[in-house]
């Protein structure tokens, strides 16, 4: 055994001051070294990634941006101008991509509804808003105001739902689906955990049935069969039927995400609430749900993003969502063969909205992270 020499010390025991970290571990050089060049393999991957990004930008950038054509009358006219993407197929039909066949004179109504949507979302999404409670009540009235604005009646000319389309239709299905499925999904998750056997069986049966059936079949049921079940003479708007089906379908998935959160709450939280004499409802509302929903955020956002994108399935029962419009546009002889540009544009719209949803959820998770883990002492 080799004898270890005593460590050389420049300070007496107990009097070692806090020293600054070595310079190469902090700031931009430190970050570069730690993240991009920490090992030969890491350095190799960094160089490779930069090269791949260069290749992509070099190839696609020219086609998508520099050599592209924004305005032209037809595909042939596009090709005569430049060799890149022919975005003219999108720009000439932009109105249809946004509104479907909503009458041009009434388009201020969905525009206003969209502006109000953004305003209504502020108090819902952010808790630091002044007078949030009052604003939340206004936000609760939003669905009715928006339905009136878009559909009409009570002084506004009625626009039939068959004329809605494009991104407007996607937003209608997405926003309605999310806001209706959230409360429903929470109730289903609570029902599945209930001590009342009947309630538990009903909730479980509903969840398992909805999850076990493809959304497409539910949409077909909505478009064809539902009328057989309703009393004769009642006509039920197709869009309303679709909204109901989409909401129920998403609620079942959401219920499972929430259940995951509920099951992660330690038994001690229930016991502490019981020991204080809190009622079952107050315990659920004030103690259990706030924690369970926080845990369930990633799963719930997953469901929402899925719902939002699944709204494109309505094209199969003849609603003109962006994919339906794309089909119609591509069927036009003037624009034949421009599928790449058309679908890229639709994909970009979906990507941007889904990316916004996902960023918001990450931000929310961070803001709510008071959790069980210990934060640093001030």
């Amino acid at each position: 055994m080799t004898a270890h020499p005593p460590p050389s010390r420049s300070y007496p025991p107990g009097e070692h001051p806090d020293l600054p970290p070595p310079p190469a571990t902090t700031g931009i050089p430190g970050w570069l070294r730690a993240n991009l060049f920490s090992s030969p393999f890491n350095s190799l991957m960094t160089v490779l990634a930069v090269w791949l990004i260069y290749l992509f930008v070099d190839a696609a950038g020219g086609w998508m941006i520099f050599d592209s054509v924004l305005h032209a009358d037809s595909r042939v006219a596009c090709q005569a101008i430049d060799s890149g993407a022919c975005w003219a197929v999108v720009t000439t039909r932009l109105d249809q991509f946004v509104y479907g066949f909503y009458p041009a004179a009434e388009r201020w109504r969905p525009n206003l509804a969209f502006a109000l949507l953004l305003a209504a979302l502020v108090p819902v999404l952010f808790s630091a808003v002044p007078m949030r409670r009052a604003l939340l009540w206004c936000a609760a009235a939003y669905p009715f105001v928006a339905a009136w604005l878009i559909h009409g009646g009570f002084g506004l000319p009625v626009v039939e739902t068959g004329r809605y389309g494009g991104f407007m239709l996607t937003l209608i299905i997405g926003v309605t689906g999310i806001s209706a499925s959230l409360p429903l999904g929470i109730l289903l998750a609570l029902g599945r955990q209930s001590k009342l056997l009947a309630l538990r069986i009903l909730s479980t049966a509903f969840i398992e049935f909805s999850r076990g059936v493809p959304l497409i079949t539910l949409l077909f049921v909505a478009s064809t069969m539902l009328n057989y079940f309703l009393p004769p003479g009642t006509s039920f708007d197709l869009l309303v039927r679709v909204l109901i089906m989409v909401s129920l379908f998403a609620a079942a998935y959401l219920a499972e995400a929430v259940r995951g959160g509920l099951q992660a709450i330690p038994r001690g939280q229930y016991e502490a609430a019981e020991a204080l004499g809190l009622s079952r409802w107050t315990t659920t509302r004030r103690i259990i749900l706030p924690q369970a929903l926080k845990i369930a955020i990633p799963g719930m956002v997953n469901v929402f993003v899925g719902l939002y994108k699944d709204s494109t399935l309505v094209v199969i029962i003849g609603l003109l969502d962006p994919l339906g419009i794309a089909r119609a546009v591509l069927a036009d002889a003037k624009w034949n063969g421009l599928a790449t540009e058309t679908y890229l544009f639709v994909a970009l719209f979906f990507f941007l909205s889904c990316f916004a949803i996902s960023r918001y959820s990450l931000w929310l998770e961070r803001r709510l992270a008071t959790g069980h883990q210990r934060a640093s002492m001030p």
Partner: protein, 242 residues
């Protein structure tokens, strides 16, 4: 204050509590000790119905504990409880932990509930932590918040279920000091604990449980210096001799 008669409890086939008789009068401080699995935690958890019993009766402050939810909630609002693992609500600040039950059970106005919470946080000596989250506090501080949270309901009885067992050694004293002060203020207390120094100092009676039964029930002087039962002597020799 508390009257338990002929209490039996089973977990499935396991007979956890066997014919327990126990009376606690107002202002009495009782420490319950015994080996693990002896039923001591189960006993105090029966008092506020965190566990239900199958035979016998429990009454607290004159209210008989039955299946009736209103009786259970009334008793729970009069009986405070402190847990081994604190069980604070991690998503609420310290202050909100303390005001929650006064607001929603006692229906107190917000300002009064907050004033009361700050008063009790000062009594357990952590008024400056009111706006932090439980996760930012040390174990000892969390347990003192848990005590303040229970006291904010101004209970007639306080139950402590091994309040110092999950704490680092240097934090045990601050929690015991808080409990001693509470005992000296005249609170009726049932404490499941192996802190024999605490028992000797504040308990009116020390109870030893083993195998779901009360084996010995005596004032601390008799309990420690002249235990009657062989099992008590064995237990004491195990935990006191080092």
């Amino acid at each position: 204050m508390i009257r338990i008669a002929g209490l039996h409890k089973w977990y499935g086939d396991f007979h956890a509590l066997k014919d327990i008789d126990l009376s606690v009068s107002e202002g009495e401080r009782i420490v319950i000790c015994g080996p693990s699995g002896s039923g001591k935690s189960t006993l105090i958890r029966c008092i506020n119905r965190l566990e239900d019993h199958q035979r016998g009766s429990i009454s607290v402050g004159g209210t008989e504990l039955t299946r009736d939810v209103r009786d259970i909630e009334r008793i729970r609002s009069e009986v405070g409880m402190v847990f081994q693992h604190f069980n604070l609500f991690p998503h609420l600040t310290v202050l909100e932990n303390c005001t929650l039950a006064p607001l929603w059970v006692r229906k107190m106005p917000a300002a009064a509930a907050e004033a009361r919470a700050r008063e009790y946080l000062a009594r357990v000596r952590i008024p400056e932590q009111a706006d932090k989250y439980p996760g930012q506090l040390s174990g000892g501080q969390q347990q003192r918040v848990a005590i303040a949270r229970a006291l904010c309901m101004e209970p007639k009885v306080m139950l402590f279920d091994e309040p110092t067992s999950a704490l680092d050694p240097e934090m045990i004293k601050e929690v015991l000091d808080t409990m001693i002060e509470l005992a000296e203020s005249g609170m009726t207390m049932l404490v499941v604990s192996h802190e024999m120094g605490f028992a000797r100092r504040v308990a009116d009676r020390v109870i030893f449980m083993d195998g779901g039964e009360i084996i010995e029930d005596a004032p601390p002087a008799d309990f420690f210096d002249n235990p009657q039962n062989e099992r008590t002597r064995l237990f004491l020799s195990r935990i006191l001799d080092h």
